[in-house]
């Protein structure tokens, strides 16, 4: 902090289209919550307090994706009020699971599910915060990791860069001593292309990773998809594997598109197998 007078940094928490899980992570820091509350001024956090202080804020933690015009405007206001804007979670960093609409016709979605679609105002796409405003830092995950969140707040207090891994989930499996589910059991696993951070939970529970933390730095998603085909998945199933919680993140989006083309050229042959 560059201010001359010593004061607690102010923290604000904002929510857009999301499940509340990432901001709940802050309340789930049971061991750290009261300490954190003593070190920073929680100026705006509606889920926890009706008392709000006006901005500007030193840090804004922003959960959720942008799905309506109203949200576009509100996010721009948040950006103006925040010295540092941190996107938290898969919705804020990649558009979230609701970005599945990005491959569909949102008008059809609305018509099919609402009796009076004229009252529903949704944009055609669910996009990450960074498509609307500059974002200073991102915490990945669905949900984010408690450890990363505490590290972020600590970093902010002592003025260092937060330590977030950019390697794959595979590294976490090896550290944990988990047998590789793909090599040993032929279970499709997104771990080789997914950023670490969850602690490699899924393979430890005998199932494949489904990509909560999104693509790692420089993933070879195309090669992983080809391996899925070798394990017996249809191109359509490979598309679904990439097009999930973080499906709109660029690397997974590209892989989904690539295998989507294969699924289409496979056409009728695939229909029976999916």
């Amino acid at each position: 902090m560059t201010t001359a007078r010593r004061r607690k940094p102010t923290l604000a928490v904002f929510k857009f289209a999301s499940c509340d899980g990432c901001q709940l992570t802050l309340l789930d820091c049971e061991d750290e919550l009261l300490t954190v509350a003593g070190e920073v001024e929680i100026a705006y956090f509606l889920e926890a307090s009706r008392q709000t202080a006006p901005g500007p804020y030193d840090v804004a933690l922003v959960e959720g994706s942008i799905t309506t015009q109203e949200e576009v405007e509100r996010l721009k206001e948040v950006r103006q009020q925040a010295r540092l804007l941190v996107a938290i979670g898969a919705c804020a960093t990649a558009g979230g699971i609701q970005a599945l609409r990005n491959w569909a016709d949102v008008a059809e979605f609305t018509r099919v599910v609402y009796a009076r679609p004229e009252h529903i105002h949704a944009l055609a796409q669910s996009v990450p915060l960074s498509e609307v405003v500059p974002v200073d830092f991102e915490l990945r995950g669905c949900p984010i990791s408690k450890r990363h969140l505490v590290d972020l707040v600590t970093s902010l207090l002592i003025g260092r860069k937060p330590q977030v891994p950019t390697h794959s989930v595979c590294v976490e499996c090896k550290r944990r001593g988990t047998v590789c589910v793909m090599v040993a059991h032929g279970v499709p696993c997104l771990g080789p292309a997914t950023q670490a951070g969850c602690g490699a939970i899924c393979p430890a529970y005998h199932r494949g990773c489904y990509g909560c933390f999104g693509p790692m730095e420089l993933p070879n998603a195309a090669s992983l998809g080809t391996q899925f085909l070798a394990l017996g998945l249809s191109p359509g199933e490979v598309v679904r594997a990439f097009r999930s919680i973080n499906g709109y993140a660029p690397a997974f989006r590209a892989a989904g598109a690539k295998f989507g083309r294969e699924a289409r050229t496979g056409g009728a042959r695939e229909a029976g197998r999916e």
């Binding site: 899980g21 009261l34 889920e47 926890a48 199933e237």
Partner: protein, 434 residues
């Protein structure tokens, strides 16, 4: 003519985003709108074409507060669709899993979201600054943590756990890991009983309404995963028939639909108050005993006293979790095999989420892909009931100073522990065409 507007633009200490508008003309309430501006996320639409095994993982993302509830309703409904029965021991492990979520969700609401209203604080962090209240905030955080640890041990993490699946669990937790929780669960049980005694001494606003209480009821258990759909007005039906007894309608001011009972056209109440009122005899011994000790009068008709119902259910969840942990034998295998190749089928189920009845229905095609999905979360069922309560409640607070009246209305809404993130995802899949 005097016009007055009570507006809460952003409701605090609720999960998700909503606003409240009350219009008053000449001392008469003319309109009340609980507006859900949380944008739609179209879960039921994008579930179409996904593999049915993905439904527990994907629907969990509707709500970060009660992901276990979504996983349980989805797994049960899809097991019916696939004609699959989970192996022995899975049912108990699922109850234990659900107890963990009830504990963390209820404690979160009681202490961090609801209690500050009774004690004149803006938040639990404000309470923590008061030396007389800080021990309760610390105890609450520890209780909540125990619930979260239980969910993490069984599910891998507390928010969006990864272990539950159609057919059972991917991996059974080790006996020793669960046994290690015994001392904490015993402490939690004792503390939850203390918490109910503490809550009994609070001052509750004098307000009662005439509700139809709706919940599950099971022959010999407090309802969590299974039971029949019952109500205080005599409803007694299979959960599969839910849609025959409930009608939903879209209202212009909200992204969530409103539910009414089909037979009467009236609103109804789901959640802890309904469950306690309809299933008091199924509560654990410690919960029943502390309820008698504090002289709790049944049925609870005062929404503010839902805090006590939530407290009793927290006692129950700790006591049942303790018993389940002591008797735990890892299910082997932990999950039933699924039909391969998949078969076409349909299934519907409801379980008791912390906030009340959560209904899922799926149709699956012969490729194992979801053909249609319908999800009815508890908060959308309660929305009309909350508005009805406000119609009755608002005239009684109109003489108070504006800020105070606004605050009181906001408090009433918080009594329901509304989870607005969930409610907005209640979308109608089949539309009636004229």
């Amino acid at each position: 003519m005097s016009e007055r507007r009570i507006a809460v633009d952003a409701l605090a200490r609720v999960e998700g985003e909503g606003a409240l508008r009350v219009m008053v003309q000449d001392h008469r309430v003319t309109d009340i709108q609980l507006r859900i501006y949380e944008p739609p996320r179209f879960f039921e639409a994008f579930l179409r074409g996904r593999r049915y095994q993905e439904a527990p993982d994907l629907t969990a993302r509707i709500c970060g507060i009660c992901p276990v509830a979504y996983q349980m309703s989805a797994a049960h409904a899809l097991e019916k669709a696939m004609g699959v029965t989970p192996p022995p021991g899975v049912r108990e492990l699922r109850r234990l899993f659900y107890c963990g979520e009830w504990i963390s969700s209820h404690v979160l609401h009681i202490f961090l979201l609801h209690l500050p209203d009774f004690l004149g604080h803006e938040s639990a962090l404000g309470m923590a600054a008061d030396p007389r209240l800080r021990p309760w905030v610390e105890r609450a955080l520890r209780m909540k943590q125990i619930g979260n640890r239980l969910v993490t041990l069984i599910g891998g993490r507390e928010i969006h756990p990864v272990n539950a699946c159609v057919g059972g669990f991917y991996r059974a937790p080790r006996r020793a890991d669960l046994a290690a929780m015994e001392p904490d669960l015993a402490w939690g049980l004792e503390t939850a009983v203390e918490a109910v005694r503490f809550a009994a001494g609070l001052e509750y606003p004098d307000f009662e309404a005439d509700y139809e209480f709706v919940s599950l009821r099971h022959p010999d258990e407090y309802p969590l995963n299974e039971g029949r759909l019952v109500s205080s007005a005599g409803l007694d039906a299979a959960v599969e028939d839910f849609e025959r007894h409930v009608i939903e309608e879209q209202v212009a001011h909200s992204n969530a639909l409103h539910a009414r009972r089909a037979e009467t056209g009236r609103s109804y109440l789901v959640g802890p108050t309904s469950r306690v009122n309809l299933n008091f005899d199924r509560l654990s011994p410690a919960a029943q005993s502390v309820a008698r000790e504090i002289g709790l009068a049944l049925p609870i008709r005062n929404p503010f006293r839902s805090l006590l119902a939530r407290g009793l259910e927290t006692v129950h969840a700790f006591e049942e979790a303790l018993a389940l942990v002591r008797a735990y034998v890892p299910p082997a295998p932990p999950r039933a095999p699924l039909p391969d190749p998949p078969r076409a089928g349909a299934g519907a189920h409801a379980t008791e989420a912390p906030r009340g009845l959560l209904y899922h229905r799926y149709e699956v095609d012969d490729r194992g892909l979801v053909a249609s999905a319908r999800i009815v979360p508890p908060t959308s069922q309660n929305l009309k009931r909350i508005e009805d309560d406000l119609w009755q409640f608002v005239p009684g607070v109109l003489d108070l100073p504006h800020e105070e009246a606004t605050w009181r209305c906001e408090q009433l809404v918080r009594c329901y522990d509304p989870c607005i993130s969930c409610a907005t995802h209640f979308l109608r899949l089949h539309i009636a065409r004229a």
